[in-house]
């Protein structure tokens, strides 16, 4: 399983046709940093299939925590098995923000 950061990930060199397909499926290529990022999410399933084909491995994309903005993968999430959606949206709440352990300490301070 490869977890790709949707804001920028590297790919091995691909043929011209594959590259065009990737761009058509919604990827954006930044030649300066040699990074791909996802621009359009409408074809995410096909995009993932193509990437899995290129990388020869299962692919998932990082989630962004809507609270602390960190990027993280789903493998650490205890709900991943019952998660109703396997790809989009790429926004979630990370474990740390969901159940902040410090809350009790803060409450004690009051």
């Amino acid at each position: 399983m490869v977890i790709l950061n949707k804001k920028g990930f590297k790919l091995p060199r691909v043929e011209r046709e594959k590259f065009i397909l990737l761009i058509r499926l919604g990827l954006e290529y930044n030649g300066q940093d040699i990074l791909f990022s996802i621009k359009n999410y409408n074809n995410i399933n096909q995009l993932r299939d193509t990437l899995q084909d290129i990388l020869k491995s299962e692919v998932s994309f990082t989630q962004t925590c809507i609270i602390c903005s960190t990027d993280f993968g789903c493998s650490t999430c205890k709900y991943s098995e019952s998660c109703p959606t396997k790809d989009l949206p790429f926004s979630c709440v990370c474990n740390r923000c969901l159940q902040p352990k410090k809350v009790t300490q803060q409450q004690l301070l009051f």
Binding site: Y41, N42, Q63, T64, I66, I67, C77, Y79, S82, C83, P84, T85, D87, L88, P89, F90, S91, C92, V93, C94, C97, L98, Q99
Partner: protein
């Protein structure tokens, strides 16, 4: 305040607060701000309760649009569309009454509900409107793959909505609990979120249904959650069972269902009064269920060939009066399970009291219940000289309070 629906009360008013679907939100905002000028209309699609309508309302609020809404309840014939939608899309802004409002925004919810005959010409009328519109046109649908929507999809920017992830739902529930001053066990919110399967609306409704002012929401409270999404195969079997019109159909359905048949019998029994309200029909249906249960008893662990009579009787119970069928919400989990759960502490107390009576008066628990408890309750209610009696029976204060307040069976 208790009467307010929390889904309404806590409906986000800004785009930022709409949970999940960040990508869809970005796309929608870009379209609204004319950064994607290729299409004049958008079609938001995805399962119910994931925030399509909410996003549209929030966007209208933020960008100062007035929403002109048409939904499934409005007939969407060509005539109706033209009457409401044409005026709404023909003017840009210039509102005489309020400088606050930028202009109109046409929102057609549940476009997949446009029926073939009833809404004749509706789809082509909508397409014409999209072609000529000077204001944003927004449509929403659950299932975009319908054949009749194909022409619509060509003129729309498609934006896909997904179910909300569980942590996001938990966060939303947490926020509501804090605002409503409801104490909760984290696991209870987890249960509600998991049960909702990504439907934020139903999660919030469940939360409101389960919480009580001044009480902590516990995991145990969530046991009573509706079946809705929990057990799809049971739900589907029940739905099919009550909706089918012929005994043959029911038999086929029951044969193909993989629900355990004791559970099924119980669930059907629980829901039968919701299906038949006429006492005659209800009695007849229950009589078939009773017969089915008798065959179930005879099947035991070896006479499996009798199972067909069990199913046959179940099928007959469903077909008592096919004409009176209307869809209804199912009860779950089984009433017996809920009852025994809620009354467990009562039963345990009564049991311990009866054991104590049994020790002193040489009777079984059952006899203590039948012959002693009713009188003992009355004696203890007199409160005169009861101390020695309580002491003799070795009853705890808790048991005495329970006994004096006990409803006679």
């Amino acid at each position: 305040m208790k009467n307010d629906l929390w889904v309404e009360k806590y409906r986000p008013t800004t785009i930022k607060d709409v949970i999940g679907n960040e990508e869809a939100k970005t796309l929608f905002v870009e379209w609204l701000e004319n950064k994607r000028p290729t299409k004049k209309a958008v079609l938001l699609y995805g399962p119910p309760g994931v925030g399509k309508t909410t996003l549209v309302n929030a966007a209208a609020n933020e960008y100062k649009f007035r929403i002109i809404e048409m939904n499934a309840s409005d007939a969407r014939s060509e005539k109706a569309v033209n009457r409401i939608a044409v005026p709404a899309t023909s003017f840009v802004g210039l509102d005489k009454f309020s400088s606050e409002v930028k202009g109109n925004m046409l929102f057609m919810d549940e476009v997949d509900g446009i029926a073939g005959n009833e809404d004749r010409g509706g789809v082509s009328a909508i397409i014409k409107i999209v072609e000529n519109t000077r204001t944003p046109v927004i449509m929403a649908a659950n299932d975009p793959d319908l054949e009749k929507l194909r022409p619509l999809k060509k003129v729309c920017l498609l934006i896909r909505f997904q179910q909300a992830r569980i942590p996001l739902i938990i966060m939303a529930l947490k926020k509501i609990c804090e605002q409503e001053h409801i104490k909760y066990e984290f696991e209870a919110l987890e249960k509600i979120a998991l049960n909702s399967r990504g439907d934020v609306r139903s999660a919030i409704n469940d939360l409101q249904g389960l919480s009580e002012e001044g009480k902590t929401l516990t995991v145990q409270d969530t046991l009573a959650l509706s079946l809705r999404n929990k057990d799809i195969s049971m739900y589907d079997t029940l739905k099919g069972y009550f909706a089918t019109k012929s005994i043959m159909e029911v038999s086929n359905l029951l044969n193909s269902s993989n629900v355990e048949y004791d559970d099924l019998l119980m669930a059907i029994g629980d829901n039968m009064p919701r299906r038949y309200t006429d006492p005659g029909e209800l009695a007849e249906a229950y009589d078939f269920l009773s017969q089915a249960d008798v065959f179930r008893g005879r099947v035991g662990t070896e006479n499996w060939h009798l199972l067909k009579y069990f199913y046959n009787n179940l099928a007959q119970a469903a077909a008592v009066n096919p004409e009176s069928y209307k869809s209804f919400e199912f009860i779950s989990p089984p009433i017996r399970v809920i009852t025994l759960f809620w009354t467990k502490s009562k039963r345990t107390l009564l049991d311990s009291i009866c054991v104590k009576i049994g020790v002193q008066c040489h009777v079984s628990k059952y006899e203590a219940k039948m012959i002693f408890v009713p009188y003992l309750k009355l004696m203890l209610q007199q409160k005169k000289k009861t101390n020695t009696l309580i002491e003799w029976l070795k009853l705890t204060p808790e048991e005495v309070t329970f006994l004096t307040g006990l409803k006679m069976f």
